[in-house]
């Protein structure tokens, strides 16, 4: 098990130069997540357009290279997806990170493959998953409120 597998160039690049970092005013979705085991703390902001598509997404908070780069990559990947598509993708990611799915599905050149190394570091899986599960919770709450508003 080599450190380069975990801390590859893509991971370090996203860590040092995070995309879509910062807060958002009046987001449709705002969801905060904690990683109890190491104190990582992240907030995801999403703007959902009238077609139910993610038209804007940002993240703030602090955490390790794994959680920050995972969040950065996630924001890039999620923009433009419908909430359904986002949820489906999140559940695929979660499977891959916890060893129940295969990263090769993503294709060799997909940046997210850089998270493959995490599967060999069980203590860090939660770091890599944090942004994804936080967004997932946010989407669920958004739907719940949506429904609540309707009735």
């Amino acid at each position: 098990m080599s450190l380069d597998e975990l801390y590859g160039e893509i991971i370090l690049d996203h860590y040092k130069n995070p995309r879509n970092a910062g807060e958002m005013e009046d987001p449709s979705i705002k969801s905060q997540g904690f990683n109890q085991s190491c104190g990582d703390d992240i907030t995801i902001f999403v703007r959902v357009d009238e077609n139910g598509r993610i038209s804007g997404i940002r993240f703030s908070g602090h955490g390790c290279a794994i959680s920050q780069s995972s969040a950065s990559m996630m924001t890039e990947r999620m923009r433009g997806k419908t909430l359904e598509e986002a949820e489906e993708f999140i559940s695929r990611m979660r499977k891959m990170l916890t060893g129940g799915g295969d990263f090769s599905e993503l294709g060799e050149y997909d940046e997210l493959s850089a998270l493959r190394g995490v599967t060999k570091f069980p203590m860090r899986v939660k770091c890599a998953s944090l942004a994804w599960t936080t967004l997932e919770t946010g989407i669920e709450e958004f739907r719940g409120e949506g429904r609540a508003n309707r009735t």
Partner: protein, 407 residues
């Protein structure tokens, strides 16, 4: 002079490997490793004399009770408590402090009363007071941590008032290593009519401690941080104060007469030990005390001073690495590295078999005071060697390399 190489032969775990490298265990502040003598003592107890303590009119029960109560005497001697009756067995430091907050606090705190703590407390000596303060309408005040990681003793006098009921503070900080002047603060607290509780989780294992000399009213520590097993800790209290307190938990052994609607309670210390205690754990703690006594607590402290001085010097030599805390300290060094999050540091060190802790160390308010979200922390004990410090330093250089690859 303490020879860590000889000591290491008493700790089977220290010959294991982690990720193919020899284990370098640098997290004794979280919990220490256990010598064979401790594991053997527990095993022998279970294999020879195991029975429930007190109330048993047969040989096994008598043997178990004697072994359990002898440990109480050992603990009393080890911390120089004036009598066994002030030594209460708890699960850990946390439960010991909760016992005081709940049994003493509920009976003695009233609306507007004040409790003085410090910004460097472990959550164990903060949350219990938040809980009882909210319930009783009491107010928490905090001694500041100065930039060098120490307290300003003079500030105590400005915070003390005739509403102050208790001063609670950590003896040795689990993050900064700061050794607080608890005896001096006890004097000032008492002069103002307040009680004082000392969290000794990081002092008792690492240096000679004399609760009578400190003159504290309450003193708490954990067995698992001083070579003993998990699940056993101690609250020392001045017997007169303990005597006047209502009980903490209700159940067997802490009672005298029980009617359906009311009960009378047993004498201290048993009044505060409801239900079957951790007998095996207490016996393990007794063996740990024997081990430390044989090494000598002065020697323990001297060894840690040597190791810590070496670690401080070596770490400060690494560019981009910041060490927190004062020069004079216990065997713990918290640090940050520019560009590398503590968790990433811990993961990379783990690949070299070097086990350090990363996080808030159950001291979130102190993290805020230091202006960080987390630190990396290496801590030392009798079994750590100078060459382990070198492994640590080499591994930290690797962290820098990893993170330097991309800008």
């Amino acid at each position: 002079m303490l020879d860590p190489h000889r000591i290491r032969t008493d700790f089977p775990i220290l010959s294991r490997e982690v990720n193919g490298k020899p284990l370098v265990y640098l997290d004794s502040t979280a919990t220490t490793q256990k010598p064979t003598a401790v594991l053997e003592a527990m095993r022998k107890y279970y294999e020879r004399s195991n029975a429930n303590v007190h109330r048993g009119a047969y040989t096994l029960a008598q043997e178990a009770t004697e072994a359990y109560e002898e440990t109480r005497s050992k603990v009393a001697r080890f911390i120089h408590a004036p009598s066994d009756s002030g030594v209460i067995f708890t699960r850990n430091t946390t439960e010991a402090i909760n016992l005081v907050a709940q049994a003493w606090g509920r009976a003695n705190l009233h609306a507007g009363d004040e409790i003085i703590l410090t910004e460097m407390e472990h959550h164990s000596n903060l949350i219990p007071w938040q809980m009882v303060a909210r319930e009783r309408g009491a107010v928490l005040k905090f001694l500041h941590v100065m930039d060098d990681g120490t307290l300003d003793v003079g500030e105590v006098d400005t915070l003390l008032s005739d509403r102050t009921k208790l001063v609670g503070l950590v003896h040795v900080s689990n993050v900064l290593g700061t050794i607080n002047p608890v005896k001096e603060i006890a004097k000032r607290a008492h002069a103002a009519g307040a009680r004082i509780l000392v969290d000794g989780a990081q002092s008792v294992p690492h240096m000679p401690v004399d609760v009578k000399d400190i003159d504290c009213d309450f003193f708490a520590f954990s067995g698992h941080k001083m070579l003993g097993p998990t699940g056993i800790g101690v609250l020392y209290g001045k017997p007169k104060i303990l005597d006047a307190m209502p009980p903490f938990l209700g159940g067997g052994e802490m009672i005298r007469e029980v009617q359906l609607d009311w009960s009378t309670y047993n004498d201290i210390p048993w009044k505060f030990e409801a239900g079957t205690p951790n007998i095996g754990g207490a016996i393990g703690l007794g063996a740990a005390i024997d081990y430390l006594d044989a090494v000598g607590m002065g020697e323990v402290r001297a060894h840690e001073e040597r190791i810590t001085a070496k670690a401080l010097a070596a770490l400060r030599d690494i560019e981009g690495l910041e060490v927190f805390g004062p020069e004079v300290r216990g065997g713990v060094v918290s640090f940050a590295m520019r560009g590398a999050h503590p968790h990433d540091i811990a993961t990379i060190l783990d690949q070299d078999g070097v086990e350090i802790r990363a996080g808030h160390h159950c001291a979130q308010p102190l993290m805020r005071r230091l202006n960080v979200v987390a630190t990396a922390r290496a801590s030392f004990y009798i079994y750590n060697t100078e060459s382990e410090i070198e492994v640590l330093v080499e591994s930290l250089k690797k962290v820098k390399e990893v993170f330097a690859r991309v800008s």
